[in-house]
């Protein structure tokens, strides 16, 4: 019972997160401006990270935790670099 419930909920949650990734990537693809893409990129990372967490639950092992942790901790670095590039034209001054 709980397995089936959890299974369905996980499926729905993953689909929702997949949908979120889709929306984010749409922004990345369509723009229109660079900052839109960057925001979409950031959102994609967060959605992906959440998808990882749900996947961890689904497979019942905590072994994917580090991957999610790394996204949470370092996912912003790429975005910051992009933002700095937009702002200053170079990443490290």
């Amino acid at each position: 019972m709980s397995a089936a419930l959890l299974w369905w909920c996980l499926l729905v949650a993953q689909l929702l997160l997949g949908f979120a990734m889709g929306c984010a990537s749409w922004r990345m693809i369509r723009g229109p401006r660079a900052q839109d893409r960057v925001v979409g990129f950031d959102a994609l990372y967060v959605s992906g990270m959440l998808l990882l967490l749900t996947f961890g639950i689904r497979s019942g092992t905590p072994i994917y935790f580090e991957a999610a942790l790394i996204i949470a901790l370092l996912g912003f670095v790429g975005t910051v670099a992009l933002a700095k590039f937009l702002m200053r034209g170079e990443v490290i001054e």
Binding site: R58, S59, G60, T61, I63
Partner: protein, 114 residues
């Protein structure tokens, strides 16, 4: 699922190959990166389909090949990722040097800023 992964590999490879044949250095480097993804996934796919069976053992035990992903392709992909990263960096710097010395970003080093 096999089909999805296979098609994904194909899409990445196709995009990469397309870019590889373009005339601008930046296109080539993006193409190489995409191709690297495709190849890494390809190597990975050689280990077949191990959903939810990471090759991490319980201490003191031996793993069961039937219930665990093949670790060898994973090790190969790891090496390939590292080497891919290194060569991307190198290619980037060389394309920058080429850009600096030839004034353009054409792969054959011709043309000015065009």
């Amino acid at each position: 699922m096999e089909l999805i992964l296979a098609v994904s590999i194909g899409v990445l490879a196709g995009s990469g190959v397309w870019l590889l044949m373009r005339p601008r250095t930046f296109q080539v480097i993006i193409g190489l990166s995409l191709l690297s993804y495709a190849v890494n996934l390809f190597i990975f796919s050689m280990g077949r389909f191990p959903v939810g069976a990471p090759p991490v053992l319980e201490p003191g035990t031996a793993g069961d090949p039937a219930s665990m992903a093949d670790p060898v392709p994973q090790a190969l992909v790891l090496t390939a990722i590292v080497i891919g990263f290194a060569t991307t960096a190198l290619f980037l710097v060389v394309l920058l040097a080429s850009r600096g010395l030839t004034g353009g970003d054409h792969v054959d080093g011709k043309g000015g800023g065009a």
